[in-house]
């Protein structure tokens, strides 16, 4: 098990006794892939936003291994692209770089554009981008500060099959490059391919865990089905 990057202990998220998350325990090693499965409304997004530092847990602890503050080590990719339509692709990345205090934002932007195959449209405004191009640019934006951990909140939703396939390949490449991934999704085949371990979240509670040895698509599918039946 590689060095521990992130651990959550007894994390709760509650407001006026409405419980979004309760008693979440999880550990993630550097460069590891974790899938968080669960139906809509299970609390996947809330959990990811807490890990991203966007939201605060009302109870428990979110513990990053020693190092820089939480938000400078996490990249977040959700449905929204977080891009500014009036700025060009390159300007969006330069801006994100300066926001994260990256040394040479210009060089970093060019390199990211090359990685995502967007160098050709570097000076076109983000307003005119297709869904697929915008997704690639927002991946570049999420990686601008070379985060150790990439949080992916239902990234495949709304993508047609070819661009979902391309995204899945790209994420595999990023995992190879050593990024830890946390993928929140309800698509079991994607989860099986991208993650080493998984947990099933139902109504804010971890109902089932799948470790690296057990991990396979059929096993994950049955584990997911069992977890759903177990809860009322």
């Amino acid at each position: 098990m590689s060095a521990r990057l992130l651990s959550l202990q007894a994390v709760d998220k509650r407001y006026a006794s409405v419980t979004a998350l309760s008693g979440i325990e999880l550990e993630l090693g550097a460069g590891q892939g974790l899938a968080i499965l669960g139906p809509n409304g299970a609390g996947k997004s809330t959990l990811l936003r807490i890990m991203a530092g966007l939201a605060h847990p009302t109870g428990g602890k979110v513990q990053f291994a020693e190092g820089a503050p939480q938000r400078s080590r996490v990249g977040y990719l959700g449905h929204a692209t977080l891009l500014y339509p009036e700025l060009t692709a390159r300007e969006n990345l330069v801006f994100a770089g300066r926001l994260y205090g990256v040394e040479d934002p210009g060089a970093r932007a060019d390199q990211l554009l090359a990685d995502e195959g967007l160098s050709g449209v570097a000076n076109r405004r983000a307003r005119g981008f297709s869904r697929g191009m915008a997704q690639r640019l927002s991946i570049a934006r999420a990686r601008v500060h070379a985060p150790e951990l990439l949080l992916l909140d239902e990234p495949f939703t709304g993508l047609d099959e070819p661009s979902a396939q391309r995204l899945s390949l790209r994420l595999e490449g990023l995992a190879h490059e050593g990024h830890a991934l946390v993928l929140a999704t309800h698509e079991i085949d994607r989860a099986a391919r991208l993650a080493q371990t998984a947990l099933v979240l139902v109504e804010g509670m971890v109902k089932r865990r799948v470790n690296a040895e057990e991990m396979s698509e059929p096993f994950l599918r049955t584990a997911y089905a069992e977890a759903l039946e177990a809860s009322p």
Partner: protein
Amino acid sequence: MNSNPEGHGNAQASIPSRLESRASRWRRPMGYLLAALGAAYAWSVMSAPIDSTQGIIQKILYIHPPLAYGAYLGFVITGVGGVLFLARQREDLDRLAVASAEVGVIFCTLMLVTGPIWARGTWGVWWSWDARLTVTLLLWFVYLAYLLLRSFSGSSPRTARFAAIYGVVGLVLIPLNYYVIEIFGSRSMHPENLERGSLGDGMGLPFLLGNLTLALAFFYLLILRWEVEAQRRLDDASTSSGA
């Protein structure tokens, strides 16, 4: 300054909280005391001597200023409650802040009703932009906006945070508005002084009883509204989670 330390304080999310239960226990005895004090207050107002210069209208002095003090007390509790909520994530203090704002606005509205009645009775004009009335009017808008912010954005952790921030803005505005009216307010009004009616002999008691009664009424209503807020949050919770 990494602004969100890990494990952002364990909010104690039970409704009603220990503080709320303790406050509720005080409410019943306060009710009895309030009734007794109210009676004494009424008696003392009736038996107070009629002011030689202003006539009987001067007796409004025993209710108008206490209403204002109640309003300001409410606004301060809202501001402080909000800050403590932000610092310690304690939802019961957020509930206190909204309860205090509502009761404060009630007192402030009554102050803005009795003020013109006094001005009408004394000078025949309903609104005289008197310094104290104007400041209270300005604050009335601030805390009405606070309540609107709350109702517009529904009950959620974000609303509580936004309201707490606006509560701080409101708190800062209390001295600021006084400062504004001190400098600019006086330029257009005739130099009458609505407040400092001469407290001759026999007038100190009703004024004191008035302040005590209305302060007690404020706290009684505050605790009651605080309990209602707690019940409303429980109600929201049960309906939204379909329990």
